[in-house]
Symmetry: C2
Subunit: 421 residues, 2 copies
Amino acid sequence: MSQPRNAFYAQSGGVTAVINATAAGVIETAAKHRRHIGRLYAGRDGIVGALTEDLIDLSAESRATLRGLRYTPAGAFGSARFKLKGLDQNRAEYERLIEVFRAHDIGYFFYNGGNDSMDTALKVSQLGAELGYPVTCVGIPKTVDNDLPLTDCCPGFGSVAKYVAVSTREAALDVASMARTSTKVFVLEVMGRHAGWIAAAGGLAGEKAGDPPQVILFPEITFDEPAFLFKVKQSVENNGYCVIVVSEGVKGPDGKFLAEAGTRDAFGHAQLGGVGPVIANLVKEKLGYKYHWAVADYLQRAARHIASKTDVEQAWAVGKAAVEYAVRGMNAVMPAIVRTSSRPYRWKIEPAALTDVANVEKKVPRNYITADGFGITKAARTYLQPLILGEDYPPYENGLPAYVRIRGKAVKKRLKTQFKL
Amino acid sequence: MSQPRNAFYAQSGGVTAVINATAAGVIETAAKHRRHIGRLYAGRDGIVGALTEDLIDLSAESRATLRGLRYTPAGAFGSARFKLKGLDQNRAEYERLIEVFRAHDIGYFFYNGGNDSMDTALKVSQLGAELGYPVTCVGIPKTVDNDLPLTDCCPGFGSVAKYVAVSTREAALDVASMARTSTKVFVLEVMGRHAGWIAAAGGLAGEKAGDPPQVILFPEITFDEPAFLFKVKQSVENNGYCVIVVSEGVKGPDGKFLAEAGTRDAFGHAQLGGVGPVIANLVKEKLGYKYHWAVADYLQRAARHIASKTDVEQAWAVGKAAVEYAVRGMNAVMPAIVRTSSRPYRWKIEPAALTDVANVEKKVPRNYITADGFGITKAARTYLQPLILGEDYPPYENGLPAYVRIRGKAVKKRLKTQFKL
C-alpha cells in the first residue's frame, strides 16, 4: 500500500462546548490509523492557520492535554470567522490552501464547522483534484444553531439546548418567587439568528400547559406585537408572572431584526444583540409590568459545565467517523447523525455527501411550533428531549472546571511565501 | 416546662440558589425540637404572608418535597420585596404582624434575608415585648450581594460566585478562540448594585497575571474612562483579546450609575440594568474592537445546577443554628459564619446580635482590589476561593434538574380582619 500522508484539522466559525470533543475524536482515531495518516496538524485559528502556514504540531501536546480536550469548551486551536469566497471570486485562497497542503504532504483535510465550512471543504476537494493534488476532504458538523441538513442534530446544539432549558427552568423559579411584589416578567435572549432551535429548547423547561416559558419568540415566526402583548398579559393574570425566551433573530413585519429596530446607544447607533432588552422595554411600556432580562450570549455556547452527555458522545463520534471515512478514501462527505429511535434515543453515524449539505439551512418546521406561534409542540419535544439527555461534568480543581490549554507548538514553515489575509 | 409554641419562617428579598437549603435546615431542625416548637408555618410570599394571614402549612408537604428543598433554587414559599417602614412611620404593619402571630400562637419568627430583613426581625422582637407578646426573633442571613457584616460570607453568595467564576472562565476560552478574526472584547455584567463581591468573584476565573478577566469594574471604584480604555487596549494588544466583568453598580465620576447614563430605548427612555452593553458600546466607539456582551441577571442567582457545595452546607447550617438558638431562648440574633482557617477552609456558626447587623453594609475592602482598580489581590483570592469549593449537583430527570414545587396548603385563617398591603 501507499505511504501514509499527513492530515490537517481546523475548527471554524462560532465555537461550542463540545467542538474540542470532536477534535479528541479525530486525534484519538487518527492515532489508530498510522498506516494511512502520518502526522496530524491543526490550524492555528482555523483555516487562517492553513492560509498563513501556521500549523500546530499535535504530537507536541501531552496525553493529559489531549484527554482534556473532551471536556474543554471553545476552540482549543483557535477558530475563525473567515469564509472563503467562491472559486471564481477568489481562486487565490484555494490555491494557497493547496500550496500549503502540498508543502506539508497533507492528504486529508478535516474541516469542523457549519454550512460555510461544508461548502469550503467541498470546494477544496474539487480544486485539489483539478490542480493535480487530490486531498480527501471530510466536513465535520458543528454548530449551536443546529441548522445543518441531513443530520439529526449538530454537535454543539445539544449542550446549548441543555443550558438554555436548565437556565430557563431556574430563572422561572426565581421570577415566580418574586412576582407578588416585584418582577413579573423575565426575558431571556438566546442565540439563533436564522433558526429558532435554541429558543425552542427553552420550551423543554416546562412540562405541561402554563409552565414557563409561557412565551417563546422564534425567528421563523414574524413578531406580532398585539398577539405577543395579549399572551404576556394573560400569563401574568393566570400565573402571576411570565417567562419569555426570545431568539436574537426575531424579525418584525418589516423584515428587520427587532434588535435593530429597538435599542440605540447614547450616540444613536443601533445596538445589535439586544432583542432581550427591546422586548422587556416593550412589555414595560405597554403593560407596565416590572421586568428583568438576561442575555446569555457566549455563556450559553461555552457552558461545558452543564453539557449534554448525548452531545458530547455525538461530538466525539463524528470526529471518529470522519477519520474512518477518510482512511477508507471517502471524499467530500460529512458524518451525519441518523436517529433510529426517539424513545429510547438511538442513533448511528452515516456519511452524507457534502454537495447535499453545503449551504442548505434547516429551520424549525412549522409543526414544531404551536398554532399561536409562542410555544413548542409535542413533535418538537420528541425531537429535542433526547438531545439534552445525560450530564457529563468536567473535573474540578479549586472549585473551578480544570479545562486544558494547548501548548500549541508551531510546525516549521516550508514555504518562503507569505499570505496576506 | 412550658407548652410548645408555633414558629413562622419567611423568605425575604431577592432569592438565591440555596435559600431553600436554609429552609430545609430550619424545617429538619424544628422537627427535632417538638417540645419547644409545635407547628412550623411559612409565609406565602414572605412577610406578605404574615401580614395577610396567608400561612403555608408545612406539615402538608411530602417528605420528598421537603428533601428536595435542599437542591431547589429560588424561594419555594415565595419571597417579597416589601420593606417594613420604621416603627414611627408605620407602626400598624408591626402591630398587624403581632396580631397574626398571636392568633396562631407563633412564638418564634425566623426571617431569612439581607440587611433590611435583619432590621425588621430586630424591630419585631422589640415591639412584641412592648405589646406584651414576646416573640423570639432570629434573622437568618441570605444575600447574593454578600454585604452583611459580622459573618464571613452570606449564604447564596458562594454559589453566585461559583457561577460567575465558571462562566467567566468558559466565555474567556470562547473569545480567545475567536479573537484572531472576530470578537476581541467580551463583557459580562453581573449583579451587585452597591458592593462588588460578585464582580470580584469573576476574578477567580484567572489564576495568573494576564489571565482573563483582564478587567473587573467594581462599584467601589469610580469609573475612570481613560484608564479603562487604556487597560482594554493593552490587553487586546498583549493577549489578543480582553474579558471584562462589570458590576451593575458601577458609577461614573458624577456619582450616577453608568447603566443610567448610557443606553436609551427607541423612545429615549433610559434603560436600566444594562451597564454591560454600555461598556461594550464604549469599547467599540473608542477602540473599534468587535465585542460581545452578556447579562447574567437572574441566571446567576438561580443557578443551582452549579451551586457551591460549601455554600449549600453553610445555607443549611445557618437554618439549623437559627432553630437551635431560638429554642435556647436567644432573641434578636443571627447565626453568623465564622472562618477559623482559610487553607483548608474551616468555619463554625456563632450568634451575632441583630443590633450589630441591621443596616450595616459590607463592601469590598480596598486591599482586595489591585492598585489600578481593575483586578483582585491575593488577599481577595484567599477570602473568595474557599467559598466556591465543591460541587453539589441536583438530581436530573429527562436531562433537567428535578427541582421540587411545594403543595402550599394554606393554614385556616383565624382573624376576621383583612390587611391592605
